[in-house]
Homo-oligomer: 64 residues x 5
């Protein structure tokens, strides 16, 4: 039995999808509730999304 | 037993589907609640969606 | 044991179904709540749906 | 052990069922809440459902 | 049977995605509700996210 590398890559994207989905979803809802806080919400969104994005790409490279 | 690469590609799309679904769904609801904030919501939606889209295509290429 | 490619294609459609379902469902609910925002909601819906649709077809071709 | 192609076809229909079910269900609820927005809701419903339907048939042909 | 390392890396990112998603999502909602507390919320968000990020990278390196 051989499990291709792409299955692992798929699990990485599932993890990033769960996380970025929750981060982005809450950001959208926050902007809709307080449009004047858009800048602050977007800054925080990009910080936390970059952490997860960096980890996902790191895992793609290091996990091979 | 051989698991085809396409199974891994499927997992990648499941991850992107979970994430883009949550991001897009919350964006729709936000626009419906505050139509005048459409521009701000759409900008944030595209930023976070691009991060996930880029990762998914990156995983498709790198994970092979 | 051999798993046919079509199983991977099925996982791709499950991912797209989860995502497009959430996007479309929220769009319907948004239009019902604010019918005058239909244009804005539909534009955002098509942007995010196109990202997921493009990825799903990309995965079908690249993942083989 | 061989997994027949039909299992993959089944997964495709599960994906389409999840998506079309959510899209159609929300459309019904939206029309029930705002009957005068029926036309707008139906247009959006057909756009997003066509995307998923097209992908499902594409996967059936390309995934073989 | 061989399970590639990348599958383990994928599980690491799923864990981090669940955690960072909840952290980031709640941070966005908090900033939207109290925009004047942005600094405090962001500091706490970065502390807790760094802990999870550090663990995930540690696992990637040490788990090999």
């Amino acid at each position: 039995m051989t499990i291709p590398n792409l299955v692992g890559a798929g699990l990485i994207v599932i993890g990033a999808g769960i996380g970025l989905g929750k981060i982005g979803g809450s950001a959208m809802e926050g902007i809709a509730r307080q449009p004047e806080a858009t800048g602050k919400i977007q800054t925080a969104m990009i910080i936390i999304a970059a952490l997860l994005e960096g980890l996902a790409f790191g895992a793609l490279f290091l996990g091979k």
